[in-house]
């Protein structure tokens, strides 16, 4: 199983970035950004995994069982919820751009300066 999960992470990042670069719609770009963010969760959990380990909850298994790393799970957990709120903030900026300029095409929006 070597580095296969990390290859999948690299693939998700590149695919998401490709979507952002070739998109003609701000909301499309935001959804591709969500895909790129999700690659970090997979990477975090992939780094902390222990083969044959159980989930780090000891209410029903004895204390000495081999378990996966809890620190990266804590990081990924807060990450998921907080980035949903940040995505909502990005969407409100997109709505603001639409109301101001009437278009959601990033190529056309780039021409408005100031």
């Amino acid at each position: 199983m070597g580095i296969f999960p990390f290859l999948v992470v690299a693939w998700i990042v590149v695919v998401g970035l490709y979507g952002i670069v070739t998109s003609r719609d701000l909301i499309n770009q935001i959804m591709c950004l969500i895909v790129v963010q999700s690659s970090t969760y997979v990477l975090l959990l992939g780094v902390g995994y222990v083969t044959g380990g159980a989930a780090p909850y000891f209410s029903d298994i004895p204390l000495r069982t081999k378990a996966v790393d809890p620190v990266v799970q804590a990081l990924a957990l807060t990450d998921v919820v907080v980035e949903a709120a940040v995505t909502a903030l990005l969407l409100s900026f997109a709505i603001q751009a639409y109301k101001r300029f009437g278009t959601l095409d990033p190529h056309e929006l780039a021409e408005f300066k100031g």
């Binding site: 199983m1 070597g2 580095i3 296969f4 999960p5 990390f6 290859l7 690299a10 990042v13 590149v14 970035l17 490709y18 670069v21 070739t22 992939g46 780094v47 902390g48 995994y49 222990v50 083969t51 989930a55 780090p56 909850y57 000891f58 209410s59 204390l63 378990a67 996966v68 790393d69 809890p70 620190v71 990266v72 799970q73 804590a74 990081l75 957990l77 807060t78 990450d79 998921v80 919820v81 907080v82 949903a84 709120a85 940040v86 909502a88 903030l89 409100s92 900026f93 709505i95 603001q96 109301k99």
Partner: protein, 256 residues
């Protein structure tokens, strides 16, 4: 730069990025061979030190509590920023001439919500709120915690909107109350940490009684309390976010 040129430029850059990634991953110990001493040490000490059997929540609210305060304030700032942007938009919108609103009134009428949608949604509101509350208050025993419980609690409110009762949603969650609850949640977390400072302990130290045996609801000191406040804050933030978006679509629906 034409789109074709942009695509080629991106492909070349992506090739470089993938090369760097592969070089980095070649230095990792491989999937499943986690050697890091910090995680294993936390696993050994956590249950004994905090009487919490949910080690992930113990890490989140005790060992790494400082990082969680930061994350919670990111959430708070995102919800606040959204309110600022969209409320200003709404004030500009309401100052438009009445003629334009009459134009939109002639637009497509929104269909009434079907009963197949209303009944299950209304039935699920109670259990969802209960599950969210249960998750937010059981951080130290099971896979649960303030963040997940808060989002599920918020989705109970969203179910009220989905069942077609937008005005009930608005009445049950007035904006002033949401702002206050969110502030209480964020400030409560910081205040618990500051209270530790007042007692001459390090910031966010666990100073409440740890409980008799690990895994009970009343055990693990500040972890349960912090999780409760975080749940409040996350729920209020998400209901606020959805409410801000909905207030603008209401203008169109009311005139239809």
């Amino acid at each position: 730069m034409t789109p074709g040129q942009r695509r080629w430029f991106f492909l070349i850059a992506a090739a470089g990025l993938v090369a760097c990634y592969l070089w980095a991953f070649a230095g990792l110990p491989g999937f499943g061979d986690y050697p890091g001493p910090y995680g294993q040490e936390v696993l050994r000490q956590a249950v004994r030190q905090t009487h919490a059997t949910g080690v992930v929540s113990a890490v989140n609210f005790e060992y790494r509590g400082f990082d969680t305060v930061g994350e919670e304030f990111i959430l708070f700032a995102a919800a606040a920023g959204m309110s600022v942007v969209l409320r200003r938009l709404r004030q500009e919108r309401e100052s438009e001439p009445a003629g334009e609103a009459a134009n939109q009134a002639g637009g497509a009428a929104t269909p009434a919500t079907s009963s197949a949608m209303r009944v299950p949604a209304l039935l699920m509101v109670g259990p969802t709120a209960l599950i969210g509350w249960w998750l937010a208050s059981h951080a130290q025993t099971d896979p649960s915690g303030g963040f997940q419980g808060g989002v599920i609690l918020a989705s109970a409110f969203i179910l009220i909107y989905l069942s077609g009762e937008f005005l009930a949603f608005r009445r049950l969650s007035p904006v002033a109350l949401l702002d206050a609850v969110e502030a209480v949640g964020a400030a409560g977390f910081a205040a618990i940490g500051l209270a530790a400072l007042v007692m001459n302990l390090p910031y966010l130290d666990n100073y409440l009684p740890l409980g008799q045996f690990p895994g009970a609801v009343s055990s693990s000191g500040t972890i349960a309390l912090i999780s409760f406040f975080v749940g409040l804050e996350v729920a209020a933030a998400f209901v606020l976010i959805v409410g801000e978006f909905l207030s603008q679509t209401l203008l169109r629906r009311r005139s239809a």
